[in-house]
Amino acid sequence: MTPPKRSKVASLGVLRRLRPFVAAHSKLLMVAGITLPFLAGAQLVAPYLLRVAIDRHITPAANGQAGALDGLWTLILVLLAVLVAEVALRFAQLYLMQIAGQRIMHDLRMAVFGHVQKLSMSYFDRHPVGQVMTRVTSDVETLNDLMSQGLVAMVRDVVTLVGIVIVMTWIDWRLTVASFVVFPFLAVILGALRVRLRRTYDRSRTLVARLNAFLQESITGMGVIQAFDEQERNVDEFRRHRDNLLEIDLRGVGLSSFLSASVQSATTVSTALVLAYGGFGVIGGTVTIGILVQFMEYLGRFYRPLEDLSDKYDSLQRAAAASNKIFALLDEDPAIKVADDVRPMPDFEDAIRFEGVTFAYGEGDTPVLSKLDLTLRRGEKVALVGSTGAGKSSIVKVMQRLYEHQEGRVTIDGVDTRELDPRTLRRFFGTVPQDVFLFTDSIAANIALDEDAVSMDEVARAAELVEASEFIGTLPGAYEARLGERGANLSFGERQLLAFARALASDPQVLILDEATSSVDSETESRIQRALHNLVADRTALIIAHRLSTIREVDRIVVLHHGEIREQGSHRELMALGGIYATLYRLQYDQDTGTAA
């Protein structure tokens, strides 16, 4: 892969990378392509018929030749037939191109979305949601315009132009030369204008991007702006952005007007030349009136497509810019690689082990885990205790291979997790995060998540076990009740219970609980504690704890600090050890006797 160019203006070459997507629908495109010469032909036929009508039928009839008009009716019928054929062909062509274009877009969307699914969490740490979202939606949409409209129109125009020149030359090459005498001049003007137009368009696009970035920031920061009473300055600054853009846009309007006028004048001057040279021919008897009319008709058809050249260039540039961004995303290497020959998931009869694991979030960052050894045996309940940044959540993320560690191994029954299919590995765990993410969907779908893998019975059983069924029953439609955006219509406690049910529904081997730090009222609190108790019963569990009172009963407590294990053992062992945990525990409970029970 070649690295993307760092120029502001996207090179059109990037559009070549669309080839495999286009090739997948080549049959459809070929069928659509077949209509093109016929359509161009239809464009050429009408003026020809006109010429025949004038030269063979109307002029002789005017000169009193009998029967000349009879053939006119046949001619008109042919004209009508060509017309009907043209309408049918044009419909077929437009529709086929749209089918192909939109299918290509669908494929491209699937490819982009599919690739995003392969990207690891570290990608999302670096790229805001809105940006990735634009790639999948509006950037692909921009290409659609080019695919289904611009590209076809361009091909059609070129075929028609070539057709016109060939037919004209065949009829009378001298008259053809007269018709295109101005063309070199026009070409020079267009060439000069195109370069300037391109520059203004590129500059305008940059300014638009800047203006939009400013606007986006003003909208998101409007609260701050108003709190500091700085609206006026903000408005002024926006005006400056608008001023800059207007200036360049007006220049663009001037250039494109000049371009449009040049094309029009070229058409008119060519008409004059055809008239003059053709007129001499008429006098000399080498050219007929019909040919003159035919040429006049062709001229209009030849020059018109040149007029919106600048718009076409602009849409091409837009498409190139969009493809650049799309392919940059598609080139993004998934940080989590799937081994070539994945090993089957072990039965988990022994333990999960961290063996000298070192992990940092980014290259060159200080490691959050350094040479960590940790064992989680089957059936064991282990609590992780430590301050923010001690490495508790990193352990959980590395264990599920949401991030790739740099040194050491993580094994399940001796099998390195890097030799397993990451998705099978992750299904092995059931996670309850601190902050529950809910989808705008039904309660059932939010518990099951993958409705093909989890049955409705399992959903209900899971909800029952964590006592979520009670509140679900009160919702209109119960399990089918739809949640608002991100579960907006549920309380924090209810969302927690749903997260428990969700973690349980997939019947995981290991439960991972990140205890919520946000507090809830005491009634909900005790309900959650009860649910938690049911959740971990008979299971292997790893708990990230934020309160000492909740973890006294676990099999083992691991005290982490700066990515290293400082102490581990049961509550009793650690208290006997008299180290950090014991100090913490005593401090808390001696000082707060009577308040913390």
């Binding site: 949601v129 289904s148 108003q226 500091f228 949401l402 998540l449």
Partner: protein, 575 residues
């Protein structure tokens, strides 16, 4: 506009000249006359070029100016609208209105008007020229037009209906993408990639299907317009041929008619496009009007009190606040559902802050602290009688005065993509360097050890992305301190700063307070234990109040929050 008329009149004269020339040739003109005709057309070309440049520059230039003004008007309005407006309209929605919709209006005002006027002029002038040649032929040339208009009308309706469904399908698709990205963690840890792909495939296919239906309807429309042009050709030949043979019209007239039909086809094709431009433009204008018509809920009334010598006694009495009251005014503009009924954010809250004191608000997330703090700056719609500053209702003062009197460190540490210094200067652009450095130090920004590559000139990135959470909060604090206002409001302002630094900053602040009032909300007990009075919030109500010692000694929310926090605090203190 006259340039536009001139351009078209000149263009429309060409077939006429051409026709006259043809007639001259058939009657045996000499080379001189031929050259005269050609020169006449060249003269037209020159005049045409000039008038075309002028007309396009005027019309298209105007549309750019309209865009310029429209964006300005919208932004002015956005600057006035209260934060509750932004709760009802998402940033994405507003951005789409300010960009896509404004562009559609511009297209309506520029190319839309240009091509529409062009088309009308071509019809009008063309008809006039044609009638002057032969009224019978004019009628047959124009006859297919109503037929075409009728055919197109039906399709336009269909296109519109399909376009609407297609847009809805797209919005469904976007929701899937949005949630897939926002919930990237869940998707991965539950291995939902394939389920998500299926879901996306489903929506993308639905979008494709509607798109194709729309395309089919559109694809029917364009050839129909071509059909009308072709029918006109046939009609001219059918009627004009015999007429020319009979000498009723000349051959040159016939040629002129053919020329006119050719000129009318393009504007007619364009008309279909203009129609959709107009539809979309007016729809966009409506969407923009929603913003322009949105009521401004927070403003200074006529004859507002000036707040100059503020002693800043703040009295809150029996204050109840519901977000959806304010939201309702905006959600109906969105055609969305009314805001979900939720319990009030504040319920009968009363408290008093005397000038120069340090008062703290403590409570869980969502207990109403932020709402109360925002009220002090009138960032929410405060009902009359709820809050008084120095004895007068807060709504009676000039809004700008109130906001100048209160320096605010919001919970969301929003920074602008600019340098650290520029962000600190945000509320006081004229402050000198020494003062900026002084407040930066007071806010705990250690320039030597922060890893800020260019010191105060370091760029903070979009939303401050180049800084850590704690750094962002300290910059936001410095920004507020530079305002040098009598009241300093801190909303969970140091939650991402480690406890040690927090303690140092707070100590520095209290040393420099010099009569300033500090009102601080915090989820962290350590941040507030020195406050002269701590109010404990729960579900929008004040459930307890007192000094740290008193509150810590009795069982309740405060004591239990403290228990939770001590663990992490102590762990952090480990060597």
């Amino acid at each position: 506009m006259s340039a536009l008329v001139l351009t078209n009149a000149l263009s429309m004269a060409i077939p006429r000249v051409f026709g006259a020339a043809v007639d001259a040739f058939t009657q045996g003109a000499d080379r001189r006359r031929v050259t005269m005709f050609a020169l006449a057309i060249v003269a037209i070309a020159v005049a045409q070029a000039v008038s075309r440049v002028i007309s396009r520059i005027v019309v298209l230039g105007t549309s750019r100016r309209v865009e310029y003004d429209l964006k300005g008007m919208l932004h002015d309005k956005l600057a006035q609208l209260a934060p509750s407006f932004y709760d009802a309209f998402s940033t994405g929605d507003l951005m789409s209105r300010m960009t896509n919709d404004v562009m559609l209006v511009r297209a309506l005002g520029g190319p839309g008007i240009l091509y529409f006027t062009n088309a009308m002029l071509v019809y009008l002038l063309g008809t006039a020229f044609m009638v002057s040649l032969s009224w019978q032929l004019t009628i047959v040339v124009l006859a297919p037009l109503p037929l075409m208009a009728w055919l197109v009308r039906g399709t336009v309706h269909k296109v519109r209906a399909f376009a609407l469904s297609s847009r809805e399908a797209l919005s469904d698709l976007n929701t899937v993408v949005q949630e897939n990205l926002a919930g990237a963690g869940v998707v991965r840890s539950f291995a939902l990639e394939e389920a998500q792909m299926r879901r996306f495939d489903e929506r993308s296919t639905a979008y494709l299907d509607w798109g194709l239906k729309e395309s089919r309807a559109r694809a029917q429309m364009i050839p129909m317009i071509g059909l009308a042009g072709g029918l006109s050709y046939a009609a001219v030949l059918a009627l004009g041929g015999p007429m020319a043979a009979a000498g009723a019209v000349s051959i040159g007239d016939l040629v002129a008619f053919v020329g006119y039909i050719g000129m009318m086809i393009f504007p007619t094709v364009a008309l279909g496009w203009i129609l959709s431009l107009m539809q979309r433009g007016t729809a966009a204008l409506e969407r923009l009007d929603k913003i322009l018509q949105a009521p401004v809920t927070i403003s200074s009334g006529a004859g507002a009190l000036a707040l100059s010598e503020l002693r800043t006694d703040v009295t809150v009495s029996d204050y109840t606040f519901r977000y959806h009251d304010a939201l309702d005014a905006y959600t109906h503009l969105q055609d969305g559902d009314a805001a979900h009924e939720r319990p009030p954010a504040l319920r009968g809250v009363s408290l008093r802050v005397e000038a120069g004191t340090f008062v703290a608000l403590v409570g869980r997330v969502g207990s109403g602290k932020t709402t109360l703090l925002k009220s002090l700056l009138r960032l929410v719609e405060v009902p009359p009688g709820a809050i008084a500053l120095d004895g007068a209702d807060i709504n009676d003062y000039d809004v700008a005065d109130v906001r100048r009197a209160v320096a605010y460190v919001p919970q969301d540490d929003f920074l602008f993509s600019d340098s650290v210094a520029a962000n600190i200067r945000f509320g006081a652009p004229d402050a000198d360097d020494a003062t900026v450095v002084a407040v930066a130090e007071l806010a705990g920004i250690d320039l030597s050890s922060e890893g800020l590559a260019n010191g105060l000139e370091t760029e903070v990135g979009e939303r401050g992305a180049n800084l850590s959470g704690g750094q962002r909060q300290r910059v936001a604090l410095a920004r507020a301190l530079l305002r040098d206002a009598p009241i300093l409001v801190l909303d969970n302002a140091l939650s991402n700063v480690d406890t040690d630094t927090e303690r140092r900053i707070l100590a520095g602040l209290s040393a420099q307070r010099s009569g300033r009032t500090v009102i601080a909300a915090s989820n962290r007990i350590t941040a507030v234990q020195d406050a002269e009075c701590i109010y404990v919030f729960d579900s929008g109500e004040i459930v307890d109040s007192g000094r740290h010692d008193e509150l810590a000694a009795r069982p309740g929310l405060y004591a239990s929050m403290r228990e939770q926090q001590q663990l992490s605090a102590r762990l952090e203190e480990l060597p």
